[in-house]
């Protein structure tokens, strides 16, 4: 059987949009796909997965120990249901990056990371070197393809469906060597950085945690998500989940506005797929202007208040 299994990402209540993006990638591969939802009390999430257009069956693997996001538990469940699938896909988010290689190793295959385009059922494109090169990857046909899907490269599938949902118990007992403790979430009520259509980011130049309020207040005026450079996160101006770039989030909003960010390659790789990039930097020679669609060489501490007035 030649079929794709997509591993759903969710937080127990809501399906992450990354799942519908994996479905888009599966559609491009052109084989029928099922979705596996692993967790505890996940009827709601399974119901959401069933509405993704084109889904064959949603397998809801429901067990108390799967409620915690421990890759060791999830990987063994996926392996237990892997036979018969030619491809197993997960998102390139931290959830997928943690889980999918563990699955690949248990199946004895190498993983295709960050699929950005599909050229054939076993032929993909992906960025490497922080997006400074694109490589064609051909996976062996004799074994299962385990891959992560670069979510910034794919749109969620259109339309909706009503796939069958099949519940099953966990196949394996919980591991005893790892324990989930807690999650401290930095995010507030703003649109999720990875799916927001507008994102406003601040860099080292913001200078302090207090000054980041300028970023937040401007973002709230236009309903934007908020991001940051690594330097701003390292300096403690804002939480880690706001970091955009090679080692943070790779995003593709319609509009990205960077204030006081120099444009290091590690940052720029995170925004290359944005629709329009705007840079405000007081140094007219800052490298970010090389990739910005609209640049403004000025002091952000003047520009943001002015923009707020114009938009308020």
């Amino acid at each position: 059987m030649s079929n794709i299994l997509i591993i759903a990402e969710h937080d127990g209540q809501n399906l992450n949009p990354s799942t519908a993006k994996c479905a888009q990638c599966a559609t491009a591969i052109g084989l029928p796909f099922d979705i596996a939802v692993l967790g505890s009390s996940i009827a709601d999430v399974a119901g959401q997965a069933a509405t993704i257009a084109g889904t064959g069956t949603v397998y809801a693997v429901d067990a108390a120990h799967l409620g915690d996001p421990l890759a060791a538990n999830h990987a063994q469940e996926v392996v237990a249901m892997a036979s018969g699938y030619s491809h197993i896909l997960g998102p390139s988010t931290t959830f997928g990056r943690d889980l999918m290689p563990r699955i690949a190793a248990l199946l004895g295959v190498n993983q295709v990371t960050d699929i950005s385009a599909v050229e054939g059922s076993h032929h993909f494109k992906r960025p490497i070197y922080a997006g400074n090169a694109v490589v064609d990857v051909v996976a062996p046909e004799a074994v299962t393809v385990v891959a992560t899907v670069r979510v910034a490269s794919w749109k969620a599938v259109d339309g909706s469906g009503s796939a069958a949902i099949e519940s099953r118990p966990a196949a394996e007992a919980a591991v005893t060597h790892s324990r989930y403790i807690d999650l401290q979430s930095g995010g507030g009520e703003r649109p999720d950085l990875q799916t927001a259509s507008r994102v406003i980011s601040g860099g080292r130049a913001m200078g302090s945690k207090e000054n980041f309020d300028l970023i937040y207040s401007l973002a709230d005026l236009i309903g934007a998500g908020t991001g940051a450079s690594r330097a701003a996160v390292d300096a403690g101006f804002c939480p880690n989940d706001m970091q955009v770039g090679q080692t943070g989030k790779i995003i593709a909003p319609d509009l990205y506005i960077a204030f006081g960010i120099s444009g290091a390659i590690q940052h720029v790789t995170g925004i290359k797929d944005a629709g329009t990039i705007v840079a405000v930097n007081k140094d007219a020679d800052a490298p970010i202007f090389e990739i910005a669609d609209i640049g403004l060489a000025a002091d952000l501490f003047n520009v943001i208040p002015e923009m707020k007035q114009l938009l308020g």
């Binding site: 890759a71 070197y129 064609d136 060597h177 705007v278 609209i294």
Partner: protein, 248 residues
């Protein structure tokens, strides 16, 4: 306890990457090579664990040709006790690397393996998870804080939703993120001392590991370039331009 630390030789992060015109890879001739920045952080953390009295020995490991001895020597200069080069003429993929690591883990009876969360060349982020899977042990990936107590490690992980904490029993594999620590600078006397520290070379075949189910990388191309845009004079022009383009 022994800690194994993986060290990969990569193009330095400051180098502008150029794809070779024949598409066979990226230009490495005359290009500055360094330790993968994440691996340096993994090593720094291992050294701190040893210095706190929670480990006896830190062993740096690299897989590759003789050129990676340069990065191993840097690791020794930072403070690792000894080094192992798993010698391989061809470039190995993460599954094979994880299998080779497992052999070393068994040979050395390591209690902890510390790796970078990704290498900045392939951006794969696989080896730690694969090793943990093959070993049947915990993985604590993307660590920004590690606290050892007895036979356990409390690890703070940088995940998309914020900071997650998990507790794992040792032995375990930890992959490290950038905010875990700031690696120390190497001093000249340490470089001299490092020359006398043991560096063992083990051919990958001697570990009984051979590549399997490898991916093929058939062609490399430069990424699409973004056209240089326009400059505006002030905030009013910026807002007007965004409105014209239907973005606000």
């Amino acid at each position: 306890m022994k800690i194994l630390v993986g060290i990969k030789r990569v193009i330095d992060y400051n180098v502008r990457i150029r794809v070779k015109s024949d598409g066979s890879g990226v230009e490495t001739d005359g290009v500055k090579m360094s330790i993968n920045p994440f691996d340096e952080i993994a090593l720094e953390e291992a050294l701190r664990i040893r210095e706190a009295g929670n480990a006896d020995e830190v062993i740096v490991v690299s897989l590759g040709g003789n050129e990676c001895q340069q990065q191993l020597r840097t690791g020794l200069a930072m403070g690792a006790d000894r080094a192992i080069q798993v010698d391989s003429a061809e470039s190995l993929q993460p599954l094979t690397i994880a299998r080779a690591f497992l052999k070393l883990v068994e040979k050395e009876q390591a209690g902890l393996v510390m790796l970078g969360k990704q290498a900045i060349d392939g951006d794969n982020s696989q080896t730690a998870q694969m090793l943990a899977a093959l070993w049947g042990r915990p993985q604590a990936t993307f660590a920004s804080a590690v606290e050892l107590s007895g036979n356990k490690a409390m690890v703070t992980r940088e995940v998309d939703a914020g900071l997650e904490r998990i507790e794992v029993d040792l032995p375990a594999v930890i992959s490290v993120d950038l905010r875990l620590n700031e690696p120390r600078f190497v001093k000249l006397p340490d470089i001299m001392k490092a020359k006398r520290k043991p560096l063992e070379v083990i051919p990958v075949e001697d570990l009984g590991v051979a590549p399997e189910n490898d991916l093929q990388f058939t062609s490399h191309t430069p990424p699409p370039v973004r056209e240089k845009g326009i400059m505006v004079e002030d905030a009013a022009q910026l807002v007007a331009e965004l409105k014209t383009r239907g973005l606000l």
